[in-house]
Amino acid sequence: MKMWKNIRFFSLIFFVLSMVVLAGCGQTAPPASTPTPANPDLILATTTSTQDSGLLDVLIPMFEKKTGYKVKTVAVGTGAALALGQKGEADVLLTHAPSSEQPLVDDKTVVNYQLLMHNDFIIVGPANDPAGVKDAATLEDLFKAISDSKAIFISRGDKSGTDTKEKDLWKKAGINPSGSWYQESGVGMGQTLNIASQKAGYTLTDRATYLANKDNLQLEILREGDSVLLNIYHVMQVNPEKFPQVNKDGAKAFVDFMTSSDTQKTIGEFGKDKYGQALFFPDYGKNVEDLGK
């Protein structure tokens, strides 16, 4: 009797744990109209801003429904996304740091490099503006004002597209920011905005993430509109000739989808209902030099 009880007890544990393993194993079959590609898994390495703003939540399901690919979106900073591309760990990239992307285009790590959309970077900070950046004539003056007054500035510090842009701006102003006022958050844009808000600091952000988070933040737009503050997104395929294991067809389908007129229209409409203004401006077919004019 006792032996039986023990067997029952251990088999019960085993049974229940097996149930746990099986839970959620059910796969939903795609609708009949969706084609079935030979290699359906597609890895997209992209920046946090496209995910945090909610744009990908709209576009990815559209793409999956239309083509039958299953997209694994890995949202990291632009630096990390490009590094994944450089190792052939991702199939397609969507990033926003043209100066970091150019070397990959040049050495043919990526192909089919297409201008996709832009929005802009803005400088946000506390409403009382302790460093007086509102009065700065040029961006150089603005960064100088922050560093001179040692007002808290929160940097991403993660080699993301935004971080790259911020470092460029400091460099242009001839300042090498350091000291206790210059703090690196090491997290995504949404989180960095929260930190800046809590510490009443300044930060550089893309407009989309700021608008998406605005209600929780005690930060105001203190500078916008300079042409160097454009935030330009490109989509590109990781070169299948260099990395035979990448999903070439899926990556091409993704680039084609992102640059199609329907998708471009969706990008232009995104956010209008919620924020009263578009978060991204579709740019496929334009010249980078003509943006913001």
Partner: protein, 232 residues
């Protein structure tokens, strides 16, 4: 305060209405952490027993490794599992990075040392006289192990609870090897972090409450089983 109240209300709203996205995240969490715990028990209990009952050269060293492993940082496990599973890595051909399988592997690695360590400690604490007595009663090797494990089943449950607790609460490894992909590898911890970075604090609070309820529910159920077995 209003935010917290909103979050609590939303948590119950999401649970009661069975929001499909939240249900999926909860099921993924149970599936991944449950499987990882099961694997860690399958690996950990025999290994812990082996270490506790046998004396072999390097036993102390093995034990010290296991004890260190009990506090292994998930983010370290995540990094190493990623490196091995990258397309360019030794197991890249499996093509399982950014899947639940990869998360289960990483979490099993995190939970196994906990189960090994606690099993070894439990068996190590049994009275040597008892062990002798079981043998003296003519038990064969298998029966001997069976009775010994039965003797420490209370502690074994504690090992399972600790293993599950370690993996259901970790985020570093899940984020790195799973990628927090919507509808696939998003679990409660990674979903909470994402909602915080999106600025959806009420939803993040709701998810955190659901996670705590889940952890409590599973632990409560295991504790019930444990107490029943103890005959309390």
């Amino acid at each position: 305060m209003d935010l917290i109240w909103q979050g609590i209300k939303q948590a119950f709203h999401l649970l009661l209405t069975g929001d499909p996205e939240v249900v999926e995240i909860v099921l993924s969490t149970l599936q991944v952490s449950g499987s990882a715990t099961l694997i860690s028990v399958i690996i950990g209990v025999p290994l812990g027993t082996l270490i506790a009952l046998n004396s072999f050269p390097g036993r102390k060293f093995a034990l010290s490794l296991v004890n260190t492993g009990m506090g292994m940082p998930p983010v370290v496990v995540g990094l190493w599992v990623s490196i091995f599973l990258w397309r360019s890595g030794p197991f890249g051909f499996l093509d399982i990075l950014y899947t639940k399988t990869a998360m289960i592997i990483a979490q099993a690695i995190i939970a196994s040392p906990v189960v090994v360590g606690l099993t070894a400690a439990a068996i190590g604490q049994t009275d040597p006289k008892l062990r002798l007595q079981i043998r003296a009663l003519g038990a064969n090797r298998l029966q001997y192990l069976w009775y010994l494990l039965r003797e420490v089943r209370f502690a074994l449950f504690a090992a399972i609870i600790a293993g599950f607790g370690a993996v259901v609460s970790e985020i570093g490894a899940s984020m790195m090897v799973g990628g927090n992909i919507k509808g696939m590898t998003r679990v409660l911890t990674t979903a909470t972090a994402l909602e915080v970075s999106k600025g959806n604090f009420d939803l993040a609070i709701a998810l955190s409450i659901i996670l705590m309820l889940l952890a409590y529910g599973v632990t409560f159920w295991l504790t019930q089983l444990q107490q029943k077995q103890q005959g309390v």
